[in-house]
Symmetry: C2
Subunit: 317 residues, 2 copies
Amino acid sequence: MMIDSPKKVAEILKEQNNILILVHAHPDGDTLGCGFSLCRSLISMGKKARVSCSDPIPSKYGYLFNDIEETAFEPEFIVAVDVADTKLLGKENEEFYGNRVDLCIDHHGSNRLYAKRTYLDANAAAACEILLQVIKELGVEITKETADCIYTGLSTDTGCFRYSNVTPRTMIMGAEMIEKGASHSDINTVMFDTKTKSYLELQRLCLEGLEMHFNGKCSLITVTQDMFKKSGSDESECDAIASLSRQVEGVVIGATLRERADGSFKVSLRTHAPVDASAICGKMNGGGHPRAAGCQLTGTLEEAKATLLKNIEEYLK
Amino acid sequence: MMIDSPKKVAEILKEQNNILILVHAHPDGDTLGCGFSLCRSLISMGKKARVSCSDPIPSKYGYLFNDIEETAFEPEFIVAVDVADTKLLGKENEEFYGNRVDLCIDHHGSNRLYAKRTYLDANAAAACEILLQVIKELGVEITKETADCIYTGLSTDTGCFRYSNVTPRTMIMGAEMIEKGASHSDINTVMFDTKTKSYLELQRLCLEGLEMHFNGKCSLITVTQDMFKKSGSDESECDAIASLSRQVEGVVIGATLRERADGSFKVSLRTHAPVDASAICGKMNGGGHPRAAGCQLTGTLEEAKATLLKNIEEYLK
């Protein structure tokens, strides 16, 4: 069942206690910002609440929850935040809770409507935009800690207010959270301005092998298992490499070909408008969004590269 | 004489015609955003106005002014925007106009008060924050083109709303400009997500020689004339290299040592709080801001490096 306003979401939450909040696996700033801002708000109302994630939460997000005191309870009401599909809960939480989520709060148009009740706003740049409205309807104080959570979601899901998903509302909510005391510049330093030594080394190796194709319209970066070993980096740092491929001046298609441990290849395409990344990946049995898509390829590196470049060339024609 | 409100700035401007607007040399998004938003507003009031810069304006800023039709006139009133000192006007405009600026609109606390009248707001993250207030007081329509100008200043002077200078007002003005039609995501792509091939090659060479000192607290990047030659890059792209030095995880002092054509060295320090970059550079006859400072060193590369590291080590003690 679809819920049609943040006010109704708040009304439902007000009636509940012993609330378990699920965030998605490989957690990011938006799902965690949602989870912990909601958790804090519910606790401040005298309720019991906690956040659960199938994966460990990276230490850089510690400020979102380090001061929350957890109390034990048997979950009576289960809320998923920023989770479009039960698969994304990760193995453990999907198994335990996948078929009994009472409420889902999300901003993905692709949401599978797996929860008993769903509040969806696909125009929200971050799920935290929705959470802030819900928290306001709950009538609780927005503390500095809650403001840090919401700001983190707004900022991380928009590349620090940089992407096309940003609306006036996103900016105004950012202003409100700064007003409430969010440590905006410290948060942004951690999220955007800190690079591990191993990532920088991986980036150096990637730039060494950067190829340009089709009159500079397409850049191709290859990441091999050997490069992971040499740099001490791993696949978790590859998102930034994929973004890098599109940043080269004149490039409209940035392609990254990443060798997997099993020898297959993961393709990540990042494009500038109007190039449709998902159309190109669709030709190779993959898919995604217009500006970011992916697919799998097998064979040798040379074969995978040839297949990828052929499909890009055909699209550019 | 100091002016105490944007309203009074507007009142002064309303009385003038044939207005020459001066921006600073090595123009950036904020000075140009100010210049062209003011120029557009004055023209829309039926006045004659144009912007002058001692340096060529980089082509990526073309959208700020390409559609403005210039008409010839003899300047009767001279306004400087985002210019803290007449020296910063650049040789040509300093010579012609340095001693006859009628009005200065600026956000640098260090403004030398060289103009007949000055409106200064050092709390503004960007001079465009002030310009927007002035334009509102002029009572003219804020067109999509004006919004592009103002948004560009707000975004570029704050690292896309990332730095500690951002206030709720900055965010709210960003929201307003998006509302008025600013092409925010296209602007951000050009300003933040586009890197030249030569810059990426320079970055690769810099990362190859990246040194870590003092238990990882200090990173040191060396840029030689030979690296400029090999990469096809030049000194204009070194600001981003200096920023990179501070982004390494764990680093509190990022140092860049850049070889000049005359064989001397330019030191750029970028620090995280509480490390005082200007105190360290002060010991080497340089100076700057708490988080970004510089100085000059002579001698061989090894000598310059030793002097720099000795001063950093002493500070860290």
